[in-house]
Symmetry: C2
Subunit: 365 residues, 2 copies
């Protein structure tokens, strides 16, 4: 595929509108960056894994027009900290960057969240451009404007909404992605079909073998349609008051599983995949999904190389507590994202004892 | 004066609109807070000086409806740091505060900037209410939404735009304010007259003796008209692209003086007062102000108890360098806020050698 195959998806957020470019060869193409970098100064923020793969290619694409510095951080969730945030802003100040400087986030979700937050608070907000290097980052964190770091007392507790100036989702970077990480990204892709796009779910069902073989044309469609769905939700609900909550299908279960198993034991996408199957089970118990629909959901998730259930050894009572601990941070009852149908999610707190029945089915007494 | 004398000034920022209440007895009045605090949890952030004066009164006003915790920080500019910011967000997390919690900033500009920034980034943004306890904070930082902390490499370099839910400017707190601090606040008040409100300047000129005697009716008018002027500028230019720069009259000179004298040797308002006189001198040299107008400006500033010139011992070349150092952080030439007339400021970079002439007049060779 050539550069001309790139797809451009606009995210219509008024004076914070931006485009997502999806296609091959974007990282190397100066035209892909054109118009997205206002000033001379650029700080690339990346990690030790991504640095040797792509950093020099970004630098080459931009060297003609910009003064470029690169900050290479440790790989992993621990980098999403206040201390590392300070490292980024300090580098910007050492370089005497003004308000027209641009931060480029070159990496996965951790780098995007951290570098985006640094851009959000440096001199009360400067531009940033995202070059997501994982499927998860391309379909999830490239839309929505959520940036931030972790606090020792809670994940993602410190942050800001800050929209990127552009996202370059280069599908070439997916070729070298480990199978497990690719699958974890697919969990969020399947999620978009389940919550609001039944036709996309059908398409995923029909094409999963070719998608997991990473055929370029199909990858573009996977990313485009995922981002388009997320963008529609975010545009309608930028500050996360209503429909945006539906993006959390499988996440309340999933976060509890991650906390119980220890962060990193399961990838986020794997926990979400199991959580979506549990949400489908609860929805079935409420009479909303029939058995055939639940089977279709489990089959697609399994075909993507993802788990359809949590480890049976996890204690149900503990998972229940962890789900409610999440809830205590906000007012009101524990609301779950459940499915009225494939392609139709709702936020529901009136599920009675079906939640306990689901936990009892999947987990240890 | 009774509570019914309170004035309410709306700041029309769309879905971030809020009211500034100005009057006596507000701190003690539960009605003044009504509708501004959405949830149960409140964290009061204050400092060691203000705490014994007002904290218990705020707690008493709110105790019936809210769960209140108070964080008392050291007084002074050093509190505006990333480390103290972390102290605030940690306390919010320790208290298990959710997105419906409210931060109350009880203090001067340092507390307002710090507590407002903590509210801006806690869970990507929660409400905050300002109870400014200095004249400067009431007329300056209560409008505009600028929040943030200092970095070892630069003041106010890390921050966010985050509007308060309400501002309670209780004029009773001004009675105990030291004369020098009151005067420092008046520098910003006079500034509003100079840059865009000639009638207000005339009124200040006619009433300065009664204002410095702190007559309550006059204090309300001082605060209301200052905030109304700043609000008009901010509403037109929330993200600081254009007219908002005019609010910096006297500040480019003033910041250089503060840096040269050592922060704290002169109060910010004192440096701005001297800076405004220097800007008036440059404007006179450009033929924009006549000598009588310059004298009127100096007379009002002196009547407020403020300096009309910098220490003559400061070296002109050094002040010149410091003014340009500010400039290097942004693109383009050094632009100064100058006066075409009393009540009419402009942003000008084409002032030729008049700047050097002004520096030579006021400073050492």
């Amino acid at each position: 595929m050539s550069r001309s195959d790139a797809t451009i998806l606009p995210v219509a957020l008024g004076d914070r509108a931006y485009d997502i470019h999806i296609g091959p060869g974007l990282i190397d193409d100066p035209n892909a960056y054109a118009g997205a970098i206002a000033g001379r100064d650029v700080l690339i923020v990346t990690n030790e894994t991504v640095d040797p793969l792509y950093r020099s290619r970004v630098e080459t694409a931009l060297a003609h027009d910009h003064r470029i510095d690169t900050l290479v951080l440790a790989d992993g969730e621990a980098t999403k900290s206040m201390a590392t945030l300070d490292t980024v802003t300090t580098r910007l100040l050492e370089n005497r960057c003004g308000r027209d400087a641009t931060v480029i986030a070159l990496g996965g979700g951790v780098i995007g969240d951290l570098a985006g937050f640094a851009a959000a608070i440096y001199q009360r907000g400067i531009d940033f451009v995202q070059l997501p290097t994982t499927l998860l980052a391309q379909v999830d964190s490239s839309v929505g404007g959520k940036t931030g770091v972790n606090h020792p007392l809670g994940k993602n507790m410190i942050g800001a909404f800050h929209q990127p100036r552009r996202v370059l989702a280069d599908i070439d970077v997916l070729a070298s992605l480990p199978a497990r990480e690719f699958a974890a990204g697919m969990a969020e892709v399947i999620k978009y079909g389940l919550i609001r796009d039944a036709a996309f779910f059908d398409w995923l069902e029909a094409n999963m073998a070719a998608i997991t073989a990473r055929q370029p044309e199909l990858l573009i469609e996977v990313i485009r349609r995922s981002c388009a769905n997320k963008a529609e939700v975010v545009v309608a609900d930028e500050r996360e008051a209503g429909e945006r909550a539906l993006l959390n299908l499988g996440h309340t279960f999933g976060h509890a599983l991650e906390a119980e198993l220890g962060y990193g034991a399961w990838l986020h996408g794997e926990a979400v995949a199991a959580g979506m199957c549990m949400a489908a089970d609860t929805s079935h118990r409420l009479g909303w999904l029939d058995a055939a629909q639940v089977t279709r959901i489990e089959t697609v998730i399994a075909a993507a190389g993802l788990p359809t259930a949590p480890p049976a050894t996890a204690p149900a009572a503990r998972i229940h507590d962890l789900m409610y601990r999440d809830k205590k941070m906000s007012a009101g009852a524990l609301r779950l994202v459940l499915l009225k149908d494939i392609g139709h999610a709702v936020l529901e707190s009136d599920y009675g004892a079906t939640l306990e029945a689901t936990l009892a089915r999947y987990l240890a007494a």
